[in-house]
Symmetry: C2
Subunit: 428 residues, 2 copies
């Protein structure tokens, strides 16, 4: 990482963009960025946000956040989704798509943008890293700071990822609640309940369901991790054991579960903009399997976007960390740091204490952290004490949003655009 | 309804049973019954709860609630599911299954049970009514009080049904949150999001999603009600309009939606204990339809049991009403009333004021209240102002449960059984 000399010079504008799948707290990071930038007007003039993320930069569709009230900015802390619009859009390698990088720098120059804050997952950290290098190669002095975000919790180096704790809390709470429903009815109704959760390659969200159970026999009774090869007979035996012993069985299945041949149990057969296959529907597949083989009445739920937008049950720790990484990103920038990302450092598990550290973008880009084998029980269906001790603090505390008419009072930005300065449009 | 003379006599025991699908607040009704009964020890000696509802009475599997601490009873107010176990089990007509009714009275006699509190939907009110008549015909003096419960909100006479408000709040909140996620990403990702909710014949839960939208263009953009015949072309045109105008479309579909031929859009092909067909899966069917016809990228979620067990986001009004009908049931009983059910009476919509009334069981049994046509917009896809004004107060207030380790601290009963007094077992 490079530290530039902290010269006295005219303040530059900043560009902030949200990237990839949004979360319940990505706007809390935006809030951290914007509130902190407003305290550094000597270095950062205005923060422009990309409408739909990096696409907003390429198409010169910039939102002037200085036109948003302090109340709106503050309200972002309790508002889920991506307030400025996010995008699944990868810039690809510089050699392959030099025009995009050139355009980006052109827009940044036109709007006197000297800071680039990119709020996303590992794809985005890769992009931020490349933009940083490319800007330098063109002689455009650009501070590039990554801000971690992903409900998947799969970023390297950082202890955890903002967005994960809230989705994890939603899943653990939902599993506990649904299990109470199922056990009530199991005598005459549903015996097997399957909850499908996100997690394409890493089973962190599925693992979080394990927090719902605290005593022997508690749900969930089988967690299906993408890290563990799915074995039909072993799974069915597990379900049978629990139904016979406790009268019911709650299964939590990650969308990314694969069989021994590496095939996803459910393939929608489509691919997203990053070339990842689009999943969904493994819940009903697994549920039907138990009925076909064992004859049990089943129900299934697919949480889908509900799990990553459930700001109403956000983790207080997660909200605070999301805000803190946004704020730290700005502090790093005004200190002259570049090509770095603030990370969460765990100082103590019990009592839980954390602080903000920093890591070079290159260490995070495209690395993927899976659930370690030591966090999964020997049988492959549960979480170990070590996993529980890692996960438990991340769902700590309730950060309830304000309510109006019985519903969360989420804010909306005005979204006033910055006048365009370039003649040429750019088609993405 | 009959009012018995309020004689001074030895207190009798009471039997309480939960019936049918459980809810986030059915235990709040149980709490109301138990706490109120404990204040009337001169009339009600002990309350026995049926383990798995009415099955517990038939099999003489009674839980002695007097063995539960005051703290546990109090904790039922914030615990979802059916703490004593519920059942989908219909007694059928007396002529068809006289043995069951005889057994019930035999168990009641053996345990000196003079009060029967049945907490359920319209099937259960029918049962309570029959048991009342049958007991009288055998000369067993039995006070039968129904306690309304159903997330479907389809009971007649009462203004609303305990359990509905909390599920409605969950759906409205989830719709609002998921919509913020979808709109963030719509530029490059999902254009159509479908949320499937419960409601076999009545679209009250689907209607509740409509509360999420307050301004033109707000989600949900299409609600599919069981009360409105599904027309494919009309639906697809609606989706197309919203995607073209706003960039995305949020659809909320009731599991009970049918086509012009009366066929469910999704049939699991199985039937529950009441002979109702088991539904589930219309969400993906509808989502896939928009892709096939319009080419839009879609996502879908199926809330299933999550919606009716989500005590973490329960409506304060719903919790209070659930408790109140439980408490009122006991008050009615000790006043000597029988074959009645406490109902919710709306005294004013704005500000919302309600009170407890009473209705004879016969008026509620087997009647089903659907969403009136005047509550659905002319196009069939939204809710009217009248509907909003009816629904809005029911999701009012947040009744958060206590938390421990980041998770709701729900109570569990000890569930100590009452010693059996009958020799003959009964096989259900």
């Amino acid at each position: 990482m490079k530290v530039r000399k902290n010269r006295r010079s005219a303040p530059k504008n900043a560009f902030y963009a949200q990237s990839g799948g949004v979360s319940a707290v990505i706007n809390a990071s935006a809030c951290g960025v914007l509130e902190t930038a407003r305290r550094h007007r000597d270095k950062i003039a205005r923060v422009y946000a990309g409408r739909h993320g990096i696409i907003g930069a390429l198409t010169e569709d910039l939102i002037d956040t200085s036109r948003e009230s302090a109340a709106t900015i503050r309200g972002l802390r309790h508002t889920p989704g991506g307030a400025f619009g996010s995008a699944r859009y990868k810039l690809a390698a510089i050699d392959e798509n030099r025009a995009r990088y050139e355009r980006l720098i052109e827009v940044f120059r036109a709007h006197d943008i000297g800071y680039f804050f990119y709020n996303g997952g590992n794809d985005s950290m890769d992009t931020a890293q490349k933009v940083s290098e490319f800007g330098a190669s063109l002689g455009h002095s650009l501070v590039c700071i990554g801000i971690p975000k992903t409900v998947d919790n799969d970023l390297a180096v950082t202890d955890c990822c903002p967005g994960f704790g809230s989705a994890a809390k939603y899943i653990a709470v939902s599993t506990r609640e649904a299990a109470l429903d199922v056990i009530s009815m199991a005598r005459t109704s549903t015996k097997v309940f399957v909850l499908e959760v996100m997690g394409r390659h890493a089973g962190w969200l599925a693992a979080a369901a394990g927090l719902a159970g605290e005593k022997p026999g508690d749900a969930p009774h089988a967690i299906l991790f993408p890290e563990i090869v799915f074995e039909r007979e072993k799974f069915l035996a597990r379900v049978k054991t629990y139904v016979e012993r406790y009268g019911y069985c709650v299964v939590v299945v990650s969308e990314g579960v694969r069989d021994a041949a590496g095939r996803f149990l459910a393939e929608a057969g489509t691919r997203d903009a990053f070339g990842h296959s689009q999943l969904g529907g493994v819940g009903p597949v697994v549920a039907q399997m138990t009925r076909d083989a064992l004859g049990y009445k089943f129900h299934w739920a697919v949480a889908d976007y509900l799990q990553r937008s459930a700001r109403h049950i956000a983790s207080q720790v997660d909200v605070e960390q999301a805000y803190a990484v946004g704020a730290a990103a700005v502090e790093f920038a005004v200190q002259g740091k570049t090509a770095v990302m603030p990370i969460i450092v765990r100082k103590s598990a019990k009592p839980y204490r954390w602080s903000i550290g920093e890591a070079p973008l290159g260490k995070i880009a495209n690395a993927e952290r899976k659930v370690p084998r030591s966090f999964i029980t020997a049988d492959g269906f549960g979480i170990t004490a070590a996993c529980r001790s890692y996960l438990s603090p991340l769902i700590g505390g309730e950060a309830y949003p304000p309510y109006r008419n019985g519903l969360p009072d989420y804010v909306r930005i005005k979204g006033i655009g910055v006048p365009r300065r370039l003649r040429e449009p750019f088609v993405v």
